[in-house]
């Protein structure tokens, strides 16, 4: 148990030390596209490093941490949708949530190349669903069918998967990264 606590403390230090700077230089910067949604810099052409940089336990560690952070951001409607969909909350209609979810899914697909390099098994296409974080911080699961299809998630969220966020339901809370 002592060892676990010690290792956890080390991990905290490592995590905060490394992740603080990871976004700055390990992946291309997050940008806003002409269409209005955010580009997380992990699309086609992902080029993993061949050698470990300073402070990295293995090559690409910084990129992995930064990519995981951005994956979470991409699940948020504030980052991955445009127009009115940026304000879709847990209280919005099913159709509005569906449209937002479809856009989030398209952004999450940008991470396919990134995750395939790292051998991830929990991508939306492999487990059959993905998470959408609404503008009020509530989150909900939506199903996908197959990675062969680049379009249109089913229009029904997974029952009883809506989880509360840190703000009251229906209240739009700006995202720290995407506004």
């Amino acid at each position: 148990m002592k060892k676990f606590v010690k290792a956890t403390c080390v991990a905290i230090a490592v995590l905060f030390t490394l992740s603080a700077g990871a976004n700055e230089y390990s992946l291309p910067p997050v940008t806003v596209t002409g269409q209005g949604y955010y580009d997380f810099g992990v699309g086609g052409g992902y080029n993993p490093p061949q050698a470990a940089g300073g402070g990295e336990p293995f090559p690409g560690y910084f990129q992995l941490v930064a990519g995981a952070e951005r994956y979470i951001q991409a699940s948020n409607v504030r980052c991955s949708t445009t127009g009115d969909s940026r304000n879709v909350t847990s209280q919005s209609s099913v159709l509005e949530r569906w449209i937002a979810a479809e856009q989030v899914y398209r952004r999450l697909k940008q991470f396919d190349t990134f995750w395939s390099f790292w051998g991830a098994n929990n991508t939306p296409d492999k487990r059959g669903w993905f998470l959408v974080v609404y503008a009020d911080g509530y989150s909900e699961q939506w199903a996908v069918i197959s990675p062969m299809f680049s379009q249109v998630t089913p229009g029904s969220p997974m029952p009883n998967t809506m989880k509360p966020g840190s703000t009251p339901a229906g209240v739009v809370a700006p995202n720290t990264v995407c506004g």
Binding site: N121, A143, I145, Q151
Partner: protein
Amino acid sequence: MRLTKVKAAAAFVCSLALFLAIYSASKDDAESIARVNPTAQHSEPRATVSSPAELPAPVVAPPAAVPIPIKPLPSMHQQLMSARDLRVLYLKLLQQGDEGGGLYAMNILMRCSAARQRQFPITWVPQSVEQAQAKALTEEQCASFVGSELSMDAVAALARDPRLQNDRLRSLLDTWVRESQKTEGRSTALSAVLQARDPLLLEQVAGAIFSNDGKITFDGKIYNESYAFPVLSSAWISAICDGLQTQCGQLGDPYLMEACINQNTCASTRYELFASDTERRFGKEGGALFQAIYPRMVEVIRNQDVSALIPKTIN
């Protein structure tokens, strides 16, 4: 040196675990972080283009049709499958808002929006005649739309269109989503969805109908396998064709077209496509599960048997 390596490894494992824990605490969904395995680098190259010959063949043929009376299907689905110009059909469907045209119109916009966003590498060339045909047909179907009509803002505006507020199919879908959270209302709402016998409506509930209080269930069984959920969803999409004896699974079926365009997996039926796909993605176990549950799913759809989707007696 050895100690350094151990420390580095421990730091990585712990930091990753902590990262997952932080996300889990904030979102109660640690699983949405992809589990990573540094040792698995390059272990799973992303599938690009594969020829149909490389795909595993379906183990068994689809179940034979049971001779029971079949009500005529809504013509909207037949039109969706055979339309060469989806914009023409889209405008027509807007006039059929009360009859389910809204759900179909939204599907067309979302399909064409995704098709328009798809980007092919400059060096892309079709790997087969079928792939070239599928790409040409899909592009032709959506060619009449101007860009602004296919923005997701336009899709959102369609959702608010007053002509579609009384859409019968959308209403059934809304009711299902609302009632699916409740034990009592779930059965009634799902019965109504099954009785509508509409292929597109049945596609919309794929996946969600197998999720019961965090468990994946079908026909009285709980499935704990990691691949069970996507396999069940795939089987459901396939079974719609045989269950409703509709013409989906032919040229114009968006699932077949997408698979053919994206992966040169050009099957002639949904059954063939998804049976091969599940085995390719999830191995023999996944393929076997697909084969095992498929006939029952066809029965459920054909007989509108909601009992298989309501976990009354979970074993």
